[in-house]
């Protein structure tokens, strides 16, 4: 696939990548940097596969959508690996004033909640993206849901 075609293929997921990155690191600049770093890690790892893949023009609309989703999930895999580690090293994330309860959750819990409830990924897809085992994913979903609801029940503002 030509480089310009590959860029056209991934371009529509940029905003979604930013949304996930911001979930892991709630800071505009850090989230943008995380998108770039994850994208570069993906390009380096999958260079051969991308260059050897079929030409853009020969793919049907459905094939392009499937390919785009696969690429999106692949980039998210790298984002998880880099982002979760990085979020643990950053100390200034608590500047986030909106959605305090949500950003008070552990980065991995936030990530799993966003993938499931914002992007509607299945538990199996979240397993692939995060590298967690199924029961860990389910546990994080359960904990996140429980913590958010108990804060609401205690009358704390979201």
């Amino acid at each position: 696939m030509k480089r310009k075609d590959f860029f056209q293929l991934v371009r529509p997921v940029t905003e979604k990548l930013y949304r996930v990155a911001y979930t892991i690191i709630p800071d505009d600049l850090q989230a943008e940097q995380l998108v770039i770093d994850s994208f570069n890690a993906f390009l380096i790892k999958e260079k051969k596969m991308i260059l050897a893949s079929r030409e853009y023009e020969s793919m049907s609309k459905k094939e392009l959508l499937v390919k785009r989703r696969t690429i999106f999930k692949n980039i998210l895999f790298h984002m998880t690996q880099i982002g979760v580690r990085r979020s643990g090293q950053l100390t200034d994330q608590t500047q986030q004033t909106d959605f305090k309860t949500y950003f008070g959750l552990e980065a991995k819990v936030r990530l799993v909640m966003t993938l499931r409830f914002d992007f509607q990924f299945t538990v199996e897809e979240i397993e692939e993206i995060t590298g967690m085992i199924k029961y860990e994913v389910i546990e994080k979903l359960h904990n996140g849901r429980f913590l958010l609801l108990s804060e609401i029940n205690r009358g704390v503002q979201p």
């Binding site: 991934v10 989230a31 390009l43 260059l51 949500y102 499931r116």
Partner: protein, 107 residues
Amino acid sequence: MMDMTKETKNINYQKKIISYIDGSLLPDERSEFEAFVRTNPEFENQLKKKEEELNLIKSLIPVAQISKDSLEALEAEMKVSVFNLLKDEPKGFMDRLSSAWEDFINR
């Protein structure tokens, strides 16, 4: 084999509500669950309550927005990465020429 009472059946399906909503039920279990919901109106109400709770949770999850300028800058940076990192090793003069031409027309 013992017949399952309606109550036991209800309890078994109640346990599956979260998995159903989570999307972690297997396709077979999912169809079985949906069939049970269709035939049990009281159970359908329980499921609705759980779904309302889920909508509340969704409202507590932020959807980050990126400004138009930042998005354009991010896309530009991604484009540079694509052109820099996806270069095939040129095998000869024609390869070098075609790579340089592609770089030129896409910048």
